[in-house]
Symmetry: C2
Subunit: 547 residues, 2 copies
């Protein structure tokens, strides 16, 4: 939680030290990652640093999680790289990235205003996991040529292989030496170091590489370096207002907003539960909206929460969202101190950092679990991963969401309707398939076990007709509606269709135990115009009424 003014003193006493320490630990990881993910997105390195300043302050003011490691994120960087490719000619990637961040911010703000946080459900677990794994592999593959000093480029495997083939699988010894050495050191640090040493290792390896590159005149040996960073200049400016550019970025912005929000929400909720902090989905929308708008105004790129930095921030003991403000201050200081030296960093070392960071988050267990639990969902997960790896993130997400919905519709196409009878001697009614109950001749008691929504409404008449066909003496059908929480317009039409269909067979339709809000809604609609039956307060009254 962020604190009100009178609480500052209490804050200083209770949380200040813990938050500051956590901020320093996270900053050490954020410095190389912010530069690396900016370059992954095809942007100049300083863009990643700018995206790690103001956005964190805005999230601290508007969000709800004390654990989110906000800033540039690898998976989003991949999506940004593919989206920037859609920009009209003559627009620089940095300009396009600002417009993209502005759109992401506006979309999230709109979603917060319209209370659309429920849309997070669009990304089911198979789609989200399949997507993140595919993106991880795609990012790791794209860094392999950089690690080896090869000119090959691309995120999707076919493009990458084609490009490597075209370059004759060339590589550069100096870059490869830096890259492989950094990779081995990073892996060794992960494997054998613990605590603060493990946390400082990536920064120390980076600084060592810079020192070595400076000492050995790497640039004249042809080792590709990050290159000089411009001096820190935190000016605010509106992104370029160009309708064609805004329109070209829009589809990508929608997907970046969705993935950024859902992946951040999942991390915030999971870390929040451990620390007993309540996360508010709409506050998260507002926090991410503010962060992205701040990025758009201050020379950054779209931001979200990184899984690894968030876990680190939680482990390092962050207690309030002030940690984000301290990280921003530490990043500002780092930029002032390190802007010169960072320019001397070999790109291959940065590639090693990215590969280790993303591959350490790789989880293949869920594929096995999903395969055991539900084949169609496992296939969906796998398909989404392969589409990311071989085609495009847009196609992968689009088809993944459609696939989830298709599976849902297949599962829910027919409403569950049970034939119910009276438990002897009581006024309770139960499913006749599972209880010894009594039925009345000529009156069919049916219980609708689900809300009537467009996903299942079309089959209502069919499902009821099957019961009627099995009892040809039926003169009256009483539908027990107590499990029905909602009826949408398609459900209303289905109810009317059922009513008219039964009426053609001289069968009367009555309802019982309709929930209050559902009945109010029915009465507000024009159902008096066609409904000829009665609504009973209890199913027992409904069953007895006609006899």
């Amino acid at each position: 939680m962020l604190l009100k003014w009178p609480d500052w003193k209490a804050y200083g006493r209770r949380y200040f030290r813990e938050d500051l320490l956590a901020a320093l630990v996270v900053s050490v990881l954020l410095i190389p990652q912010s530069i690396a993910y900016a370059m992954l997105a095809g942007l100049p390195p300083q863009v990643g640093l700018y995206a790690s300043l103001l956005p964190l302050v805005f999230y601290a003011a508007l969000g709800s999680s004390p654990h989110l490691g906000l800033g540039p994120v690898a998976v989003l960087a991949l999506m940004i790289a593919q989206t920037l490719g859609q920009a009209p000619p003559g627009v620089s990637p940095s300009e396009a990235a600002l417009v993209l961040a502005a759109e992401v911010g506006l979309i999230l703000a709109l979603a917060a205003a319209l209370r659309l946080d429920a849309l997070a459900a669009l990304l089911s677990v198979p789609v989200l996991h399949g997507f993140e794994t595919g993106a991880t592999l795609s990012i790791a593959a794209s860094q392999l040529p950089v690690l080896l000093g090869s000119p090959a480029k691309g995120f999707e495997l076919p493009a990458l292989l084609e490009s490597a083939w075209a370059s004759g699988f060339a590589w550069q010894g100096g870059a490869a030496a830096y890259g492989l050495a950094a990779l081995l050191l990073l892996l060794a640090a992960r494997r054998w170091l613990k605590g603060m040493a493990a946390r400082l290792a990536p920064l120390l390896i980076l600084l060592g590489a810079i020192a070595l590159a400076a000492g050995s005149d790497a640039v004249s040996r042809g080792v590709p370096l990050v290159g000089a960073l411009p001096p820190l200049h935190l000016g605010l400016a509106l992104p370029r207002l160009d309708a064609g550019l805004w329109l070209a970025m829009l589809p990508g912005a929608l997907l970046v907003a969705l993935v950024g929000f859902v992946s951040s929400l999942v991390v915030a909720e999971s870390l929040g539960r451990r620390a007993n902090v309540r996360i508010d989905a709409r506050a998260e929308l507002r926090g991410l909206a503010g962060a992205n708008l701040a990025a758009a105004l201050s020379g950054g790129m779209p931001v979200a929460a990184s899984f690894s930095r968030s876990v680190l921030m939680s482990d390092a003991g962050s207690r309030t969202r002030m940690t984000g403000v301290f990280i921003a201050l530490a990043m500002g200081a780092a930029m002032l101190l390190l802007a010169g030296p960072l320019g001397l960093l070999p790109k291959a070392v940065l590639a090693a950092t990215i590969m280790v960071a993303v591959l350490s988050g790789l989880k293949l267990g869920p594929y096995r679990d999903a395969w055991r639990y539900a084949r169609p969902e496992a296939l969906l997960m796998l398909t989404v991963s392969l589409l990311v790896l071989c085609w495009s993130v847009t196609a992968a997400l689009g088809l993944g969401v459609l696939g989830s919905i298709a599976l849902l519709l297949q599962r829910t196409a027919r409403p569950h309707v049970a034939l119910i009878g009276r438990v002897p001697g009581t006024e309770h009614y139960r499913n006749i398939d599972r209880h010894a109950v009594e039925c009345l001749p000529g009156v069919l008691g049916l219980r609708i076990d689900e809300s009537l929504l467009f996903t299942n409404a079309r089959s209502l008449s069919d499902v009821v007709q099957l019961h009627v066909n099995a009892h040809p003496d039926t003169r009256r059908v009483v539908l027990q509606m107590s499990p029905v929480n909602a009826i949408d317009f398609s459900g209303l039409e289905a109810l009317r269709e059922l009513h008219d269909n039964l009426a053609r067979q001289q069968i009367r339709l009555d309802l019982s135990e309709v929930k209050g809000p559902v009945l109010d809604r029915l009465r507000a609609g024009a159902w008096q115009g066609w409904f000829r039956g009665q609504v009973f307060l209890s199913h027992h009254q409904g069953m007895e009424a006609g006899s």
Copy 2:
């Protein structure tokens, strides 16, 4: 139903006369409509006639409804026109239409093989009605310039107005005279004629217009005519195999297949219920697949069921799918007899036929009903209509489907979970908000009232936590699962998250009354790896077990 060989004699005795009569009545309407809808789609007139021959025979062999008036349809013609605009340069509209029909047929055949008929639910009532109304108005608007002999063109209002403006709102006296006269006569026939006279009137008006045009040398007066039809030539040929063309037609084909299938299914089911004929959704998929593939091989265009012709076919007494075969024969005969004269028909008269046909199906009542019943769905319906009318059918359908799903996710985002207690003296448990029941201290009985699916799974832990917070003495939670019909992979993850979250608070999670198939599935998954609770056969056992 279609009959087996030994039944032909019975068929001849019982249904032959009725089917033949219905076929003739429908053919009289189909002749002008097939030509008109082909031209509406931007295709030569004979394409519509070819689409009314073989496809009807294939549907008769594979489908399940004796009432579907198959062939060219106005709404599909609009979609086809917009899709053909996406064809690569150098491809004629007729060639593209064959590829489109082939793709529609293959998509429907694939859907039949994969049992995807549940996807029909994608088009909720608001989207389908909004789309059909928008398409009707767009078609009527597009025919106004043809009726008046104006060179203006276009389906969407902005393009149409721009085109009319560019032509200086020019019109042609001769065409307008034919068009307005035909319009008045058609409306008068609808208003005052009954029975067979009303059914024959459109054909007689057409023949009268042809005679007048031939006698008065309309062509030299500049009245635009349909133009000479090539002689009947029913050759079979594969559509052009060109990857670029097939890819360009694919998005349109998906939408044409979806709209064609759903609108045909709705008509078949509604007419089937009246006549007590059972409609099989998968047979409908196969029938439409066969009809569209036949159209692709025999020079036609995508086909589906026309609402007006289907109602006519049902009213005229069609008893079996043989009616479709007789219609095809009648259409073949008409082509042989009328190919010459039809070429002399003024286009303005055809435009009048289309306007009267589509506008007679216009229904505005559902907008009012939806507005009274559920504002968001009424706005969705209106938005879809306006998008069709002013932008494009693809955008309208895409955004409409997304809108339906967004409303669904908003409605179902939180699973309904009720706190339940024991009805004194029994082993029954009921919602404590609505019944006088007893609770056990330290044990929380909760009933999950819905299947756990990705639409609601993410909030499960939150919803349960609220109940736990209200009862801080909780040591055990027993979830009654009897209303849960299914748990998808996202639901399984949510259950695990709930389990782990409760475990962190030293609370044990038990389940009761888990349905057989759901429990089998859970056991097939790896849940033994993490689930530490027990599964009880009855909720009462579960509640008593710990105490």
